[in-house]
Symmetry: C2
Subunit: 366 residues, 2 copies
């Protein structure tokens, strides 16, 4: 398998919302399908916190992407019709410039010298990419989870740049429960002595902190209901149990360990901290005079699909309803879909049949 | 303020469910009110994981207890009528023998040489105490949270020892979501280098791990709904913010810090690990042939009150319903109360007005 990533050089300097600027920064992105001659079939995807731009396999990289079953020729998001772009979020570590990238001013990795990152910066960087591809207006902007917040920032900052919008399991502003979870994830990393104020290396790496952060993520990404059915109280075979005191004994613990192992060395801890805090900071209410509803009501769109999941404890259904109501206030025709998928926040990655059906039906009407 | 604790010497040796035995062990307990000449007005309280036996002020200790507004002369649990006993759970660190106690065999603290602890052991220890007070049958057994599981163990192991039961925000068996949370709390402590396989001291103490464990506890003890109303997105004043990178910035973070500070040095980390794992292990289903419902149906009681809270994510309402249904199967008259208190699992400590009313009405009918 190859590498399908392309790289877009951001305007240099690239100004950041909270101050500072980036020099010689870039965005990694992948595309599927063909841009129509009228350049009116572009669909941009903003991801959650950890995925790369590799949403699905394509000619240059046939490895499965994180939304493999959703995206492709003849699939729910049909790349025979749509020109799909997926970006690796600015500040991430999957090709786009972030805290692990080399700071051209010093020749060393930025680490904590990376400027304060906001989802608005991520939105502005993607907007520059879209313009560079010759696209005046996106046919559709789709955002999942953190990417849904980035999408709202894009809409608020660039009026007229998007015709239709799909908002999935996200938030118009971070609520205290989500802030508390993310703050604790960051604390687990920061308290790991090997984090060393951001100066870790492969040989001295904050593995324990990242493991706790990821496990806490997984706990809040899924649902208690799903786990009762899936794991109940099943014990590990005695040869699978951890020998150390208070080590894993139940299948649910081993499931979390597996998730942590796959993540810990595959995501830069400083990037994680930056993106996590950017999520806490996000508040669409900053773009209006009357809080969230007013700010959303200033966004002009033609068609909107908002999907939420009843078992999502991190981005609860009430926040999806708030987005749907708010965007209706701007005159868009808004469809609100509440799914009873048992997989909680992660359902959009797992319950492809239900999410796919809602998305495909929406796209068919555009 | 004095110390109202009394100490009961457990039979020595005291056998433990999973093997091993304790020598010269004791239980700390406090009492309120007077035992009637017929010895038929005793009410025993099992606490959650962290509280001491000091549920309320009394003659020997006028400091407020953890259930101060619930318990006392003329209060919801009227100690003018009831002889109330509250025990510090076996294995805890508030006077009862636990991992921080001196092992008489070595003259050193047990630490991880303390035998494997179960809630059944805690129930058996309390049963011996009750018998030593000359009480053949408790008028009422009340358990909150972990204490509710201990109470179910008491009921299953000692048929006929209890007439009526109050079950509050607990579980008939640990579900995977709760196991996952507790496993992660234990991991945070175990990964703290200062835990040192249980060999910490006051000078080298697993403060970071205990802080993460407690904060995660608080997050799951309360509810997202309560926090939206209480903290929303309120920022700390600039002089209250933490200066270090990614330090606290929102009120919700400072709230968690406060909770952690009050707990970290006031609870023994090894005891915490033992009690946490005992909660994971508990499964009333072991006492029947057909799982939870069958086991609960074998328990004979006269009157039962089961209280749960809709916003409790750790011990969900569905588990309270399961307890109520199961005990109904044993022939008891069961009242089930579902409260919409916004404080989640902790509501029994906070929403005293609603819990108190339900408890007082139930007790008045006995």
């Amino acid at each position: 398998m190859g590498d399908a990533r392309r790289y877009f050089d951001l305007p240099s300097p690239f100004p950041m919302k909270r101050g500072g600027q980036l020099h010689q920064a870039c965005l990694a992105y992948e595309t599927w399908g063909e841009l129509s001659p009228a350049r009116d079939n572009a669909l941009l995807i903003f991801t959650g916190l950890s995925p790369s731009a590799h949403a699905a396999s394509n000619a240059a990289d046939d490895s499965p992407g994180w939304w493999e079953e959703m995206l492709g020729v003849g699939k729910y998001i049909d790349t025979g019709r749509w020109f799909v772009i997926c970006v690796n979020t600015l500040g991430s570590c999957k090709g786009s410039t972030g805290a692990a990238s080399i700071d051209p001013a010093s020749g060393q990795p930025y680490r904590l010298d990376f400027p304060e990152l906001t989802l608005e910066d991520a939105a502005n960087a993607a907007y520059a990419l879209v313009r560079s591809l010759g696209i005046e207006q996106l046919a559709c902007l789709l955002g999942n989870s953190m990417g849904g917040m980035t999408a709202l920032a894009y809409l608020a900052l660039h009026p007229g740049a998007v015709r239709s919008h799909i908002s999935i399991s996200t938030a118009p502003q971070a609520q205290p429960f989500a802030i508390a979870i993310r703050s604790l994830q960051r604390e687990a990393i920061r308290l790991d002595p090997q984090w060393n104020n951001g100066h870790y290396s492969d040989d001295s790496y904050p593995e324990a902190g990242m493991s706790i952060a990821r496990k806490l993520g997984v706990i809040t990404y899924r649902s208690a209901m799903e786990w009762v059915g899936r794991f109940a109280r099943i014990r590990l075979e005695s040869d699978q149990r951890e020998e150390e005191p208070f080590g894993a004994e139940f299948q649910i613990e081993s499931y979390l360990i597996g998730h942590a192992r796959r993540f810990v060395r595959n995501f830069d801890p400083n990037s994680y901290l930056y993106l996590s805090r950017a999520s806490d900071w996000f508040d669409i209410g900053e773009y209006g005079r009357g809080g969230v509803a007013d700010a959303l009501g200033r966004i002009a769109l033609q068609h909107v699909l908002v999907i939420g999941v009843e078992t999502d404890i991190l981005f609860p259904l009430s926040q999806q309803e708030e987005i749907a109501e708010g965007l209706r206030g701007g005159g868009a025709e808004v469809e609100f879909v509440a799914l009873d998928s048992p997989q909680g926040h992660d359902a959009f990655l797992v319950d492809i049949v239900r999410f796919g059906a809602a998305i495909a039906q929406f796209l068919a009407r555009l």
